[in-house]
């Protein structure tokens, strides 16, 4: 009789990297469909090209380095999809290719791959595109939630993600499955709204689909947010303050979320280092 002698624990939960990433992709699908409805079928080509470039870049890099292909865990698809959703609908089709290449090859793999990314690849890709081809990345309009039905369908959206803040309600499902912890989304959202009200900003410009994407998927991204519980609360508040700060000066709350999270990714290891918890057996001497 051959018995397996392996290390405890002998039972583990079913969640894997693949299940986390594909669930996040599933949460983004409703927004994709609404944006196709609003902007037309060309959006589908932008999204598909972005996803496929990301996949091909990852596959090529892993093959060239003789590593095992990990495209099945959905990480490259997620990066490509988020990058595609952050673009305005009028970009030429080679822009997502360049952005996906930069994001996957340089920000994900040159830094070490899954879990080693210090900056969110999709956001870094968007910032790169914004700085390099500023004219082509210009948006036509800024979302404005003038009436309550705009929460479901915002026709004045500039980027693909801003069409429907409500469509990202699937983020609550991610919290329920414990793929994302509740501290960052809650503190980020609350701080933004409370500060915006205190400053006197019009909330109809602050609360956009971009904010929902940032709150649920970008800021709570595992590799770039602090690991400690208090660190996550501080990170959420920090992101909220910076978002309102940027939006106050530039009146563009969509880009505010992007640049805030990009900068906060740099500050996250500092926050993490200074909020280590006290273990439960630390006895005061």
């Amino acid at each position: 009789m051959k018995l397996a002698v392996s290390v405890p624990p002998h039972i583990k939960l079913d969640d894997t990297i693949a299940s986390i990433n594909w669930t996040k992709i599933a949460v983004l699908i409703p927004v994709c469909m609404v944006s196709i409805y609003v902007f037309g079928i060309d959006v589908l080509s932008i999204l598909l090209i972005s996803v496929f470039s990301a996949l091909i870049t990852e596959a090529a890099i892993q093959k060239l380095q003789n590593q095992e292909l990990t495209i099945k865990d959905g990480d490259a698809v997620l990066i490509g999809l988020i990058l595609g959703l952050l673009l305005p609908p009028t970009v030429p089709l080679w822009i997502p290719v360049m952005g996906a290449f930069f994001a996957v090859a340089l920000v994900k793999h040159a830094f070490g791959g899954l879990g080693s990314t210090l900056f969110n690849p999709a956001i870094a890709g968007l910032v790169f595109l914004n700085m390099s081809w500023t004219v082509l990345m210009g948006v036509d309009s800024v979302p404005h939630l003038g009436q309550y039905s705009d929460i479901m369908l915002e026709l004045g959206a500039g980027r693909l993600i801003e069409v429907s803040p409500f469509a990202l309600i699937g983020g609550l499902y991610l919290i329920h499955k414990k793929y994302i912890e509740w501290r960052i989304p809650l503190t980020y959202l609350l701080t933004t709204i409370v500060l915006a009200v205190l400053i006197g900003e019009d909330l109809s410009y602050v609360f956009t689909g971009m904010l929902m994407l940032g709150v649920f998927i970008l800021a709570a991204d595992p590799a770039t947010s602090p690991i400690t519980k208090n660190g996550r609360i501080i990170y959420g508040i920090f992101c909220g303050i910076l978002t309102v700060l940027y939006g106050y000066f530039s009146y563009n709350y969509g880009l505010a979320v992007i640049f805030t999270i990009f900068f906060a990714n740099a500050v996250s290891p500092f926050i993490e280092k200074n909020t280590y918890p006290k273990p439960v057996d630390e006895v005061m001497a």
């Binding site: 380095q65 830094f111 070490g112 791959g113 900056f119 805030t260 990009f262 900068f263």
Partner: protein, 193 residues
């Protein structure tokens, strides 16, 4: 650009010496591996910046300008900075030998650190008064410290990451600095100067 608050915002954020103006990067990349040496280096640089701004302003306003010797600006500034760096070296070597050892060659290299020369030359070029010069030196030091602390935290986290062998160490630090600079420029560029 005259009042102290605007100088502070410029010195620390909008025109940060390390990430926006790209001055003083060699000490930044060389010492930012550990938080202790990063903090020590930042303290040394801030100290030298404040004193250099003061001394340079005094020398320029009361010695070089009245005597018409403004062509000696660069040389005299470098002499001032070198003297101050020697002073800092003596202090650190006596006070904390481990810190002296961990800073290594980068401590005397503060002499040729373009950030410090940049501060004093900018003070002259922007025609700041005494208080403004000193304050500009102080805020430049704070900006340097802030970026050093952020970078040292990031590089300590990098120890446990799965970085490919060809990228480990300095190339990785350059990549991080690139993205950090992109973040800084894009975010703080929105604040009107």
């Amino acid at each position: 650009m005259d009042n102290l608050f605007a100088i502070a915002i410029n010195g620390i954020f909008v025109k940060n010496f390390l990430l926006v103006q790209f001055l003083g990067l060699c000490s930044f990349l060389g010492v930012s591996k550990e938080t202790k040496s990063a903090a020590g280096m930042s303290a040394a640089v801030m100290f030298v910046m404040i004193l250099a701004s003061t001394a340079a302003f005094l020398i320029f306003t009361y010695l070089l300008q009245p005597l018409g010797l403004t062509f000696l600006t660069t040389i005299s500034f470098i002499i001032i900075i070198a003297a101050l760096v020697q002073l800092v070296e003596f202090i650190i070597r006596k006070h904390s030998p481990p810190l002296y050892r961990s800073l290594g060659i980068y401590l005397p290299l503060i002499t040729t650190n373009c950030a410090i020369l940049g501060v004093v030359v900018l003070n002259v070029r922007l025609e700041y008064g005494f208080l403004q010069s000193v304050f500009y030196g102080f805020t430049a030091g704070i900006g340097y410290t802030m970026v050093m602390l952020l970078m040292s935290a990031i590089r300590e986290r990098v120890n446990v990451l799965d970085v490919p062998a060809s990228v480990q160490g300095l190339p990785h630090a350059f990549f991080i600095t690139t993205l950090l600079s992109m973040a800084f420029v894009n975010f703080f560029g929105v604040i009107p100067t």
